[in-house]
């Protein structure tokens, strides 16, 4: 009857005989009679064939506008990059796909070595000494970083830059409502200048951490070194947030500029858009703070025969050992997405990442200039990587919808991200990656021109 269930009725009878039960229901006798459903649950139809399910799901999928089918320029924390076909092949290897957290290292070296490689790549990319084996996503990683800073500094007042992704800020402020942390943050302004100076001026002896996004939500880039110095001088930590790690192919790493903790969203390397999830949180820090870090860590060791091997280590930080004293409650994280990330990054290598970043930046520069040449439209950013903010002569939200009507996904309106803020309503954030063709760019330019005039 059901393609996923191997037991036959004959098996079931024989097994009941061995067990000494007369029916399966007897095995459910601990469930009070009146809490057991009598037949199949109501509402849900009976089992369906692959064909029927596939048809239903395909029909639903066709109700969405597919990024790859149209000129597409959305970013703000999720980027469309081309993913090599081999990445999807690798993550579909049954031995990766259908394995568990590597608790039995003798038969999990595949996952463990991959984690160790991932940790090294993330640490190097972020310019840090160590990195963990993944978090849920960038936004939860940022909150975990604030908590970690709290543990390290034993302080609880953190400053969040106005350039941090508003969803990330929302996550932190939500969580802080229930913890002993106080967060300060403001809304960004439509100007080339970030709030770096203002942040530094607000650091004091009670500051736990300063949280800055790099590049920030408007695509701007700030030198983190002065902020790091200011924070560290006051005994606080600098937490840097990276939502577009491809940028680090061209830009100085946050670690290099002195950040103590660097967290990020790994989606843009290997993972794909997927309507927001699953993604993969990146988390790196200084070696001296590693015992305050959340999440799994793979470490090198040797086996009984002297061969190099890898194990999960420093588990005394974790919930399954430390329970309520753990550094985090995280258990299942995002290892398969980490595999996608690490295998894509291995395919790129330093050279490929640099080329990819260069290509992204070059195209973004070109598009920025072309769009800023539309009458009434101006470019907010001075510096940017592959994403920049335009100030439109009209509100950006309706503009985005009007572009959709022209078959173009033209950017993210700041009105969507900051619905409350009058001052931001004309802001449109445009991301340009290698995945946009020349025709796509022409279409964007034409659509925007048409809509704003």
């Amino acid at each position: 009857m059901m393609r996923y269930l191997p037991l036959s009725d004959a098996d079931r009878s024989e097994m009941l005989r061995v067990i000494g039960a007369s029916s399966v229901d007897e095995l459910f006798r601990d469930v009070p009679e009146n809490s057991r459903l009598q037949g199949p649950i109501e509402g849900l139809p009976m089992h369906a064939s692959e064909l029927a399910v596939e048809r239903h799901m395909t029909a639903l999928s066709r109700k969405n506008m597919v990024a790859g089918d149209v000129p597409f320029f959305l970013g703000c924390g999720a980027y469309k990059h081309h993913i090599p076909a081999s990445v999807d092949h690798i993550i579909q290897r049954g031995e990766f796909l259908t394995s568990y957290t590597p608790y039995q290292p003798e038969i999990a070296q595949g996952t463990l070595q991959m984690m160790f490689e991932f940790q090294t790549q993330v640490a190097r990319l972020f310019g840090c000494e160590v990195a963990n084996a993944s978090m849920y996503d960038g936004s939860t990683a940022m909150w975990e970083a604030i908590l970690m800073a709290h543990r390290v500094t034993r302080r609880n007042r953190s400053l969040i830059s106005s350039g941090v992704h508003p969803h990330y800020v929302n996550v932190a402020t939500t969580m802080a409502k229930f913890s002993e942390d106080a967060l300060e943050t403001t809304l960004p302004e439509l100007s080339a200048e970030t709030d770096a100076k203002q942040l530094m001026s607000r650091i004091d002896g009670q500051t736990c951490a300063v949280v800055v996004q790099y590049p920030d939500i408007l695509g701007r880039i700030t030198d983190l070194a002065p902020i790091a110095q200011a924070a560290q001088a006051a005994g606080a930590l600098l937490i840097a947030v990276v939502t577009e790690p491809v940028a680090l192919g061209l830009l100085k790493s946050p670690g290099e500029m002195g950040a103590d903790i660097v967290v990020g969203e790994g989606q843009s390397i290997g993972v794909g858009l997927q309507f927001g999830g699953p993604y993969v949180g990146l988390f790196a820090c200084r070696e001296k703070h590693v015992r305050q870090m959340p999440g799994r860590l793979a470490g090198e060791t040797v086996d009984a025969g002297g061969k190099r091997g890898f194990v999960l280590t420093l588990s005394t930080r974790e919930q399954h050992i430390r329970r309520e004293k753990a550094t985090s409650n995280i258990c299942t994280s995002s290892v398969l997405c980490a595999l996608a990330f690490t295998s894509h990054l291995t395919l790129l290598g330093e050279k490929g990442l640099r080329e990819l970043a260069t290509l992204n930046h070059a195209r973004a520069c070109e598009v920025a200039d072309r769009l800023a040449a539309i009458p009434g439209v101006s470019l907010v950013n001075e510096g940017f990587f592959n994403e920049f903010t335009l100030k439109l002569p009209i509100e950006a939200r309706p503009t985005v919808h009007a572009m959709v009507e022209r078959g173009v996904l033209g950017g993210v309106s700041l009105g969507r991200l900051y619905p409350g803020s009058e001052a931001l309503q004309n802001g449109l954030v445009v991301a340009v990656t290698e995945s946009s063709s020349d025709e796509d760019i022409n279409a964007l330019e034409a659509a925007l021109k048409e809509v704003v005039q």
């Binding site: 969405n64 070595q113 160790f116 229930f178 050279k351």
Partner: protein, 523 residues
């Protein structure tokens, strides 16, 4: 099927293995694989780009990277081989029985992988205008609908990223509900046998954790619980079926007792597989329960995630659920309710737990799973999972101590202890010997309430033949364990690695690769 299905014929044993050390370290198809840092180079790449003239100069605010990163690249052939060879060092459900108790390592249908990769799901941006996302929103809405149907609950929060995140969501709903009535409570009660995430989450949510004891039948001690309840207790976290694989028959009484003191019942739904389609948690008086889609609804574990942990909520808690969520309108359209719109429609929402909308890639798989099984199939899932576990329990309980087997059947997992093993032999040794037999070990030393616990969860997607082979292997090893066979200490001998030195790893943590030169320089 016989236990040894490979067609061996009796012959003089051949023992040459291990005698010859190969030059490469490989053993035929068991291949060694270096680190990418040892085989790749920063000038190698497996990706080509269109070479286009780069625009006039950078606009990088003077922050161009000047130092190399140290990222090795591999060409595609090398990369595919690297990861394929690594993968072959892993055990997985696709290879055989993976009876890791509490983890529900069931088969992951390949249809679901296909469906999740439909461009209309895989290639959609979370911030697209909502008129371009109606299909995605409908998926979330349909899945939510069936989760409510299956649990008999009132509302559901879809955005939590895994089980532990779901626990957090549930506790925050509780906290928000309590705060909304001005009730500041400080304690969450958690059974000793609970999964580590339960106390960790309670602490994460700002609560003090207190244990509640189990009775001799492996269940929550209702009297002890009643005695502890009071105005300082915000919630009780119960796992049902619990981590000993037993149903809490007093669940309703527990709920009533908890509610009578103004507290809430959080249910850890990690073990929902035992009762899906048979019992609706909503009928047991619980207020919040997370569902691990990566357990009961078979989204792949992937070596440790991604998962997805939607939380079903009672009517009392639903108003406090997090943002964003999907609402269906009368005209058949769907909308994301987030900070902007929540004010009016959902004023008590406690806020956002995560950027974007949760694990769409898991939602599509779980929905396909639910529709594939249907009402009859899901009921069968629970029944077969319970049947398989009891079959293992009864087939081993003469040889292994099964602390709760006397009191009756188990649910979806069977628990044993190491009592009766010869002194030196431990649960760990049995587990490692199972590796040589071609099985993944069971969960070891969890829950803490059973000595040397071995928690076996076969799941419903195992055939009887597979269980019979497993039983034969465990019986053989258990026999050796009882007779004190020392060779168990050296297991595994056939795996890619022998036992690994975990102490060394923790004492001198090496968490990232260092080039040999760099290593030397620091020495």
């Amino acid at each position: 099927m016989t236990v040894n299905p490979s067609g061996w014929r009796p012959s003089t044993p051949v023992n040459e293995e291990g005698k010859i050390r190969t030059v490469t370290g490989n053993r035929a198809l068991m291949l060694e694989e270096p680190l990418i840092f040892e085989i790749g180079s920063s000038e190698q790449t497996g990706v080509d780009f269109e070479s286009r003239p780069v625009a006039k100069g950078h606009r990088l605010a003077g922050l161009e990277r000047s130092k190399p990163i140290g990222l090795p690249g591999l060409s595609e052939p090398e990369a595919v081989r690297h990861y394929t060879r690594l993968s072959r060092q892993n055990y997985a459900i696709d290879l055989g029985l993976f009876p890791l108790g509490s983890c529900t390592m069931k088969h992951n249908p390949r249809l679901n992988e296909k469906v999740a990769r439909l461009p209309g799901f895989a290639d959609v941006h979370p911030l697209q205008p909502q008129e371009t996302l109606q299909g995605a929103l409908q998926v979330i809405n349909e899945l939510a609908f069936w989760l409510l149907d299956l649990t008999g609950m009132f509302g559901v929060a879809m955005s939590p990223k895994a089980g532990a995140h779901g626990e957090l969501c549930g506790l925050l709903c509780i906290r928000a509900a309590l705060e909304a009535r001005g009730d500041k409570r400080e304690v969450v009660l958690v059974p000793e046998s609970a999964h580590g995430t339960n106390p960790a989450t309670a602490a994460f949510a700002g609560y003090r954790v207190e244990n509640i004891p189990a009775n001799t039948a492996g269940r929550v001690d209702l009297d002890a619980l009643r005695a502890r309840l009071g105005p300082d207790v915000a919630a009780v976290m119960i796992t049902n079926p619990n981590t000993c694989g037993l149903f809490e028959p007093d669940m309703k009484a527990i709920s009533e007792a908890v509610h009578a003191t103004g507290a809430f019942v959080y249910c850890d739904g990690a073990n929902f597989n035992a009762i899906v389609g048979k019992v609706r948690p909503g009928d047991l008086g619980i207020d919040a329960m997370h569902i691990n889609l990566h357990k009961t609804f078979s989204t792949p574990h992937g070596g440790g995630g991604p998962g997805s942990g939607p939380v079903v909520l009672s009517e009392a808690l639903s108003p406090y659920g997090p943002l964003p969520f999907v609402a269906r309108y009368e005209d058949g359209s769907y909308k994301i309710v987030e900070e902007e719109t929540a004010g009016a429609e959902h004023p008590d929402a406690f806020g956002r737990m995560v950027a974007f909308h949760g694990q769409m890639g898991m939602f599509t798989r779980a929905l396909a799973y639910i529709l594939s099984h249907g009402a009859d199939g899901l009921k069968q899932v629970a029944e077969d999972a319970v049947l398989n576990a009891n079959y293992v329990l009864r087939s081993l309980s003469d040889l292994l101590e099964a602390p709760f087997a006397k009191s009756g059947p188990c649910m979806h997992e069977a628990i044993f202890s190491d009592r009766g093993f010869s002194n030196e032999i431990t649960t760990l040794d049995l587990a490692k010997a199972l590796i040589d037999e071609g099985f993944h070990p069971m969960t070891m030393y969890f829950p803490l309430v059973v000595h040397g616990a071995m928690l076996v969860e076969p799941t419903e997607t195992e055939s009887k033949a597979s269980l019979d082979q497993f039983i034969a292997a465990v019986r053989s090893i258990a026999g050796r364990a009882k007779s004190g066979d020392e060779t168990l200490k050296s297991a595994p001998i056939y795996a890619p690695r022998r036992r690994l030195d975990e102490t060394l790893a923790a004492r001198k943590p090496v968490l990232t690769y260092r080039e040999p030169q760099a290593e030397q320089a620091t020495k």
